[in-house]
Symmetry: C2
Amino acid sequence: MKLIVDCFGGDKSPAANVEGAVLALKEHDDLSLILTGDETIIKNELDRLGYTGSKLEIVHAPEVITGEDKPTDAIRLKKESSMIKAIAMLRKDPEISGVISTGATGALIAAATLRIGRIRGIRRPAFCPLLPTMDGGIVGICDSGANVDITPEMLLHQAILGSAYLKNVYGVKNPRVALLNVGVESEKGDDLRKKAYPMLGACDSINFVGNMESRDLLSGKYDLVVCDGFSGNVLVKTTEGTALELLKKLKKDIYSKTIYKIGALLMKKMFMEEKEFMNYHNYGGSVLLGCEKTIVKGHGSSDANAVRICIDQAYKMSAGAMNAEIEKALEELKG
Amino acid sequence: MKLIVDCFGGDKSPAANVEGAVLALKEHDDLSLILTGDETIIKNELDRLGYTGSKLEIVHAPEVITGEDKPTDAIRLKKESSMIKAIAMLRKDPEISGVISTGATGALIAAATLRIGRIRGIRRPAFCPLLPTMDGGIVGICDSGANVDITPEMLLHQAILGSAYLKNVYGVKNPRVALLNVGVESEKGDDLRKKAYPMLGACDSINFVGNMESRDLLSGKYDLVVCDGFSGNVLVKTTEGTALELLKKLKKDIYSKTIYKIGALLMKKMFMEEKEFMNYHNYGGSVLLGCEKTIVKGHGSSDANAVRICIDQAYKMSAGAMNAEIEKALEELKG
C-alpha cells in the first residue's frame, strides 16, 4: 500500500505531518509513504526524529497553498505546491492509493474533484467527518461542507457513501442513517428534505431510520447523519465549538476559587479524560467520499498523532472493498 | 398593558403557565393577564397558589392543541383551544398587546401568520431565541425555524427585526449582526449567502460585521446571527444538545469513582452555577418578530420561572418602540 502525505499547509506543518508519517509506518508493515514538500526541510525533520527506514520517499515541492489562495487558482498556478503535486501523482500512478492533507480545504476539494475521477454515478464527492457519541461510539456526518448547494439525489448518494465508509473502515454492521431535519416527523423540513425523505426510505442499500433533530447528534441513536454541506458544516462546527467553549468556561471557573482548584485536583484524571474525549483530533480527518481514490483531509490544527490517525483512515479506506460496495449500491438504484 | 397567557399545550401546563402568570404580575404593576384554557382546572391552580388578586381573568377554552395536530387543521378545527382562542382575542381586541404560549410551534406560527397582521413590508415573521455567551452576554439567532425556505431579502429583514428586538428589549446599543456561513471570507457559502452578504453590508439600519462560523456563536463577538430557519434550527438545537449531553456525561463520570464524588462535592456550587448558565429556560422564549402584535413562544418544557421570563419579554416588546423602529428601517430600505 502506497500513500502520499502532503507535508505542508497545516498549522503544525511540516513537523506534525512528518512525525505522523513516521508513526503510521510503525503501525502497518505493508505501508510505504511519499512525503511532498520542501525536501531540505522534510529531511531535517526526519533527522530530528532519527528516522532511518526505507519506506519513506520525499518528492520535492517547494510551493505551499494557503487559505488565501483561490481554489481554482491554486490548481492552475501552484503546480509545484506540496498539495497539487500530491494530487497529480495520485492521478497518474496506479500504485498510489491515496493522499492525506492538512492543507486548505477548498483547494483540496477542487483538486480532488477536477483531477481525480469520481465513482461512476456520483455527481460530487462529499466530506464525512466523525464525532464521538455519549455511549462511546461514533457518528458520521455526510456532507459537512463540500457541497453547499445540493439536490435530494445527492443526499441519497451521501447516505450510500457514508454507510459504505462506516461499514468498511469502522466495522459498523448496518449503519443507522438519519436525515438531519428540524423535527422528527416525516413531513418536516424544507423542499429538499421533503423530497429526500421518501427517496431515502425507498433505498434498499441503506438502513434509513428517519429524521433526526440536531440535539440528538451525540445520543448514540444514529451512525450516520446526511445533510447538505451548509447545515452539516453548522452541525459539526457548533458541536465542536460548544464543547470547546464549555471546557474553557469550566477551566476559568475552576481557577476562580481555591476550593474549586482543590476539587478539580481530585478530579484531574477525569477532566483529562473528558478533554481527550472531546478532542476531535482523536476521531480522524474528514474523508472525501465518492472519488475513485482515497482523499483524507485532516484538521488544519492536526498534531502528529492526528496525522497518524488520518493515514490509518486512508490505509483502511484503500484496503477495503468500500468503493466496490458503493458502485453496487448505485447500480441497484438504477434498476 | 394587557397580555394573554395560553395555559395549555406545554409539558408542564397548566401548572407552570398559571404560576408563571402569578409571578409575572408581581413584577409589573401595570400588567394584567388573561389566561386561556379549561376554567375549572385553571381556577384550581390559582387556589393552590393562593392567588386572590384582581389582575387575572380566565377565558374558558376547553380544547388543547398538541404536536400531533396539523397546524392548518388546528386553526380551522380547534377554535375552542386555549391557543387559537388566545390568538383570536389578540386579533380582535386593540387593548391586548400580546400572547405567550408554550404550545405547539407549528400551530402558533400558522395562527400568528394567518390571523395577526404583519408589519408592512415583512413577508414572513421569524423566530429569535437567545443563547448565553461565554462573556456573560447574550446572542440572538434569527430565524431559528419559522422559515425553512428563504430568500436573501428575508435574511435582510431578519437582521432588521433582530436588531430592533435586541436594542429595544435588551438595551444592546448597536447590535453586531453576523451572517451564519461556512467560513468568514465574504465570498463563502451557497447562492443564498452570496446574495445576502452585499445586501446586509449595504443596509444602513444595521451594524453588519460579516460572516460568522458556527463555532464562534458563543464567543461574545456577535449580538445577532441571521440565518435561514433550517440552519438556524440546527445551530440552536446543536448548541443546547451538546451542552446537555456534556453535562450528563460529566455527571455520570463523577459518579463512577469516590474520589471524583468528593472533588465534585467541593465544586458543588460551581457545578450548580454552570447548570444554571446552560439552562436555556433562563434566556426566555423564542419571540416571533415581524407581527403587528407580540407573540412569545416558550419552550415546551418551560417551568413557572421560564413562563415568567416569557411574559416579561412580551411586556418589554409591547411597551417599547420596537415595531416603529422596524417600520422606519424598512421604509429606508425602499428609499
